[in-house]
Structures are given as structure tokens and as C-alpha cells.
Amino acid sequence: MAETTVRLPEARYEFGGDEFVFVELDREMSLQANFKAMAITGALRDRELEGVVDICPSNASYLVRLDPGKLHPTELVEELRRLEHSAGELDGTRVVSTRVVDVPVLFDDPWTRETLLRFRDNHQDPNVTDLEYAARINGFSAVEELIEAIGSAPFIVTMLGFVPGLPFCYQMVPRERQIEVPKYVRPRTDTPERAFGYGGAFAVVYPVRGAGGYQLFGIAPAPVFDGTQSLPDFHDRIAFPRPSDILRYRPIDRAEYDHVRSEVEAGTFRYRIREVEFSPTAFLEDPDSVNRDLLEELYR
């Protein structure tokens, strides 16, 4: 497959003022770049360096926030370069302990439809819905085919951020099967909470209501952020998704949406989660078979 031939360039180390170091592993998105970001940031976390404040893996890069009173940014860069060589090479023995999670989504729902119609002037094609536009530019003959493609293979969380709890998710398929859409021409000033959106090659669930520029495809009945930590899945963390989580966005109907909403409101909802051992190299060699196993494990 195409993915296995990706060769990453030399990492680029940049200072974000005195409090941040930004490391770009590649300018284009690939799972290789993300696996490398996860490996290096994981190794950095294990080092427990004094003065490191936040370690933020992102899609094809990572960002480290530091306290320059305790650690000079140039010293941190030296350490990161060492980690790039000791931990950044993908080897066949590396296995990631992660979770595979069922994330229900109601596509073409009334709430995101109302929003996207309100912001038609901000869109590339004001005459069709976001789903119709995305289906057309990605070569699908109908919206249903696009939805089926999204549901057919899981996504991996390649970055958290923008706002608290927002997962950037990259579908675990070869590049030629990736769905890619532009962001809105001008961002919207409003997006419903839990909207399922798509921008560039990334799917997201918006944790809170607010501005946004991704194409709106649907809405998730379950939250990804819970500041009050009332749902069981949020007792330890206010954000549900974690880096490297494998999320399966499962298309659902209105009846199931309403049912999940009532569970969320009653405080009883729990995501369907399975702990798995994931091998990046095995995946890159045969993604379809690994995905099949992951989904089988999830719904067993």
C-alpha cells in the first residue's frame, strides 16, 4: 500500500518563544508521522524531565511547553533530538496499548443541517449541503456512499486540541481511500455542541458550541468533554478521547440517537470500549485485516 512507502524528512526543531518547542516531523499528514510523534512524546513523558509542563503530540508534529526558569529550550531540543533517534524509529516490535471505542453518529441530523444552512454564504458551494458537497468532490455518487465509507473503517486520534477534548481523527485507510475536504471559505461563528465535522483529512467531534470551519456531517449523541465529570467515562478526565484511541464512527438512526441522549441525560451512558494492543507496523503492512480484527474485538 501507499502508506508503507512514506519516507519522513528530517525533523525540524523550532522555538515557540521561550516557553515552547515545536517539532515538525512532516509537512504532510501520514500515519507514519503520527506514530513517530506518539513514540517520541511517549518517551519524553517517561523521562519525567524537570521543567516540562505539557507534552502535546499532534498530527504530523508535536509541541512541548516548558518552564524556561527550570529548563532552557535549547537543552530541551538536544534531548528531543536524542529521543528522535532512540524512540522515533518505527520498529516491528513496538506495540501500543490503546482502546478501540464505538462512537455513534447521527448523520444528516436536523441540528447541524439548520446550522449549515444558516452559514451557506461561508461555503464553497452554497447550493448543496456539506454532505452533498463532500460526496461529490470525493467521487461518491450519493451521500449514503460517503457515510458508508466513514463507517467502514475506524479512525485514530492523532491530536487533541483546538478546544478542550476535541479529537482530530485520521481514518485508518491508505491515502488513496482517504476522504479529503476543504475547510469553510470563512469560518462559521456557530457550531452545535457534539457536531461531527470533517476538514482537511480529519474528522472531529466539537466538544462545545462555538466557532468552527469544518464541514458539518452529523452529530454525536454522546459528549467528548464533560467539565462536570458526571458521566462514568469522565470520572478520571474531563476529556474522553486520548491520543492513539481508535474510534469507530458508527452511523445510527434517530431512534438510537434519542435513546443514547436519554442515557446521557440520566447520567448512565458509557462508551463501548475494548482495550487492545495495536502494532503500527502490522497495521501499515495490512490495514484492512488489522481493522477487521479491531472491529471484531469491539463488537464481540
Binding site: 521561550d18 504532510e28 509541541l63 486540541g161 483546538f162 491515502r175 476543504p182 466538544p207 462545545v208
Partner: protein, 325 residues
């Protein structure tokens, strides 16, 4: 009754402390006082140890009625201050008693006054900080700006400095017409043409009305991006990159004509090319620049950025010695 009554919230007044560190990786910015220098001095004058929760106002300060004896101090933006109607100096330890009202007149310079009260604002901590983060409605007083009728709890006062303790002139901030900001150029600055970077640094930028704790949008010039075929996953606009993490203080230029400086409550990542980062010590100056003000960026390196922070901290340390003897 250990609380202070809010008779008016002012324009936008929030509880802030040193910020909520350690959650950037889930997308939560630290929040916290934007002008760390003025915030720290306000606490020194109120006799609060360390970065105790204080009030950060915007343009127009609040009106506060005290219910017990406290030491208060107003620092930051240059504005007229009154205690129960009588003019009172800024940058000084003021003693107030039950029924006294702290009020604000018009702003003369700067943008954000700070009010520290002995004992600090005793709102509940959220993830180890009392800082307000409005987007998700957490921290501070109910996760929002103060409003008329709020009763904000106060902590137990420590041993405040003597009434009338004053910050010497040389420690007061300046509010120049054009604010110079040191910028470490980098991150995705490769996206700018050489001329564009020169022009970016040569331009005097005007702060638009979109200037708040999230970020400052500027206007004053147009910036060209290097032409390229956009990399996979980046999106189609020349200002787009594959979504990445944004440093606090970083500058991005969506559309090529409106640079944005991201600040304490900003989004932590996204898909716009960042071209440099304002050094942390100079975020104090950004905080004191308001809509209609002007800024310029001066390129500097990481060593100078670290030095600037150390210099500011050393200066504050010196002031602490002067004030506490």
C-alpha cells in the same frame, strides 16, 4: 462575611491567578492573568503571597463594595481610581473598611487594570487554579465575568504591607504609542516569502476590535505566502498547514492580511501557519494594548527571549525587596 460585593462588573472583569498549567495536551489553555507583571505587583501590595487570585478588568474597571477591613491595590492600565468617591492612587497599598466602595473612572492609558485584595479571591479551585476560562465556563466566579450583585468570597488576609506602601516610579510600566514586541521568528515561517517576512516586521500594525483574552487581530498590511502545492491533509488555503499545536503568543496570518496573536485563553491548535512567537515577557505589553493601539514586531532569538523573562523576574524580585524591606 468574608466577601466583596460587586456593584458593577465593569466591562469585562474576571478572576485570574497564575493559570491552569498542565492541560494543554487536551486542548485547554492555561488562562491566568495576561499582564503577569502588574498582577504580581498588585498581590505584593495587597500582601498576598505568590500568585493569589485577583481581578483582571478590561478598559473599565468594576465597582466593589467591601464588607470588612482589607488592603487593596490597583495596578496595570493607567486609570483614575476612587475609594468611596475620593481619588486614590494606583500602585499603592490602600486600606478599606466595611461599606467602602472601590470605583474606576476613565482609562488614560493601557487596557487592563488589576485589583488585588488581601486574602485573595476565594472562589473554588478547578484543576488547581482559580483562573476563569469562559469558553467552557470553568474556574473563576461561576466560569464567567463578574456582574452586578455577585458576592465574591475572600480568603483569610495575611500580614499586608503598611498602608501607603508605594511602588517607586522606575518600576511603573510605560504605555508607548507604538508597543514594541519581541518575536522569535520560526514555527511555519517558511510559508512566508522573504519579502513578506521583512514587510511583516516593518509594518506598524493596528489592533482591531477583535482583541480579547483569546487573541488580538491586527490590521495594517498584506503578507504573501510562498506558492506551493498544498501538502496532503492541510486544506486548500495557502495559509493552511496540517493542523498542529499553537504556542501561546504565536502569530498566524489567516487570509494573509489579518495577523492574530494568540493569548492566554486561545485555541491550543489548528490549521493555520504560525510564523513566530511573542516572547513571554512581552505578553504583559500586549495585555496593556487596547483596540486602536499599535504594535510592531522585532525579531529576536530564543536566548534573548529567555533573558527577557529572567530580567522581568529579577526586576520583580528587586521590587519585592524594596517593598518588604
Amino acid at each position: 462575611m468574608n466577601e466583596v460585593l460587586v456593584r458593577s462588573g465593569g466591562l469585562y472583569t474576571t478572576v485570574q491567578d497564575a493559570g491552569r498549567d498542565g492541560h494543554y495536551a487536551i486542548g485547554m489553555p492555561p488562562s491566568g492573568a495576561m499582564d503577569r507583571y502588574s498582577f504580581t505587583i498588585a498581590n505584593l501590595l495587597a500582601g498576598n503571597p505568590g500568585p493569589t487570585a485577583a481581578l483582571e478588568a478590561t478598559y473599565l474597571g468594576p465597582e466593589l463594595e467591601f464588607t470588612d477591613s482589607r488592603t487593596v491595590a490597583v495596578t496595570g492600565a493607567d486609570c483614575s481610581v476612587t475609594v468611596s468617591g475620593a481619588s486614590a492612587p494606583m500602585w499603592m497599598s490602600l486600606r478599606v473598611g466595611p461599606g467602602d466602595v472601590l470605583g474606576f473612572g476613565p482609562l488614560k492609558a493601557g487596557a487592563r487594570p488589576y485589583v488585588a485584595i488581601s486574602g485573595g479571591l476565594d472562589v473554588p479551585e478547578y484543576l488547581n487554579s482559580r483562573s476563569t476560562y469562559k469558553l467552557t465556563g470553568i474556574g473563576g466566579f461561576g466560569g464567567r465575568a463578574l456582574a452586578e450583585g455577585d458576592r465574591v468570597p475572600l480568603g483569610q488576609a495575611q500580614d499586608p504591607p503598611a498602608e501607603g506602601t508605594t511602588v517607586p516610579e522606575e518600576f511603573l510600566p510605560e504605555f508607548p504609542d507604538v508597543v514594541e514586541l519581541r518575536l522569535v521568528v520560526g514555527l511555519c515561517s517558511y510559508r512566508l516569502t522573504e519579502n513578506a517576512l521583512d514587510s511583516f516586521l516593518d509594518t506598524t500594525w493596528k489592533v482591531t476590535k477583535d482583541a480579547d483574552r483569546i487573541g488580538y487581530r491586527l490590521r495594517g498590511g498584506t503578507i504573501d505566502f510562498v506558492e506551493r502545492e498544498q501538502p496532503f491533509g492541510a486544506g486548500s488555503d495557502p495559509a493552511n498547514v496540517v493542523d498542529l499545536g499553537y504556542p501561546i503568543g504565536s502569530v498566524q496570518i489567516p487570509g494573509g492580511n489579518e495577523p492574530i496573536i494568540l493569548l492566554n485563553d486561545a485555541v491550543t491548535g489548528g490549521g493555520y501557519a504560525t510564523v513566530g512567537t511573542v516572547v513571554s515577557a512581552d505578553r504583559d505589553r500586549v495585555a496593556q494594548t487596547g483596540t486602536g493601539g499599535y504594535v510592531r514586531f522585532n525579531a529576536t532569538d530564543v536566548d534573548s527571549a529567555v533573558q527577557a523573562r529572567q530580567d522581568r523576574d529579577a526586576w520583580l524580585h528587586k521590587l519585592r525587596t524594596v517593598l518588604t524591606g
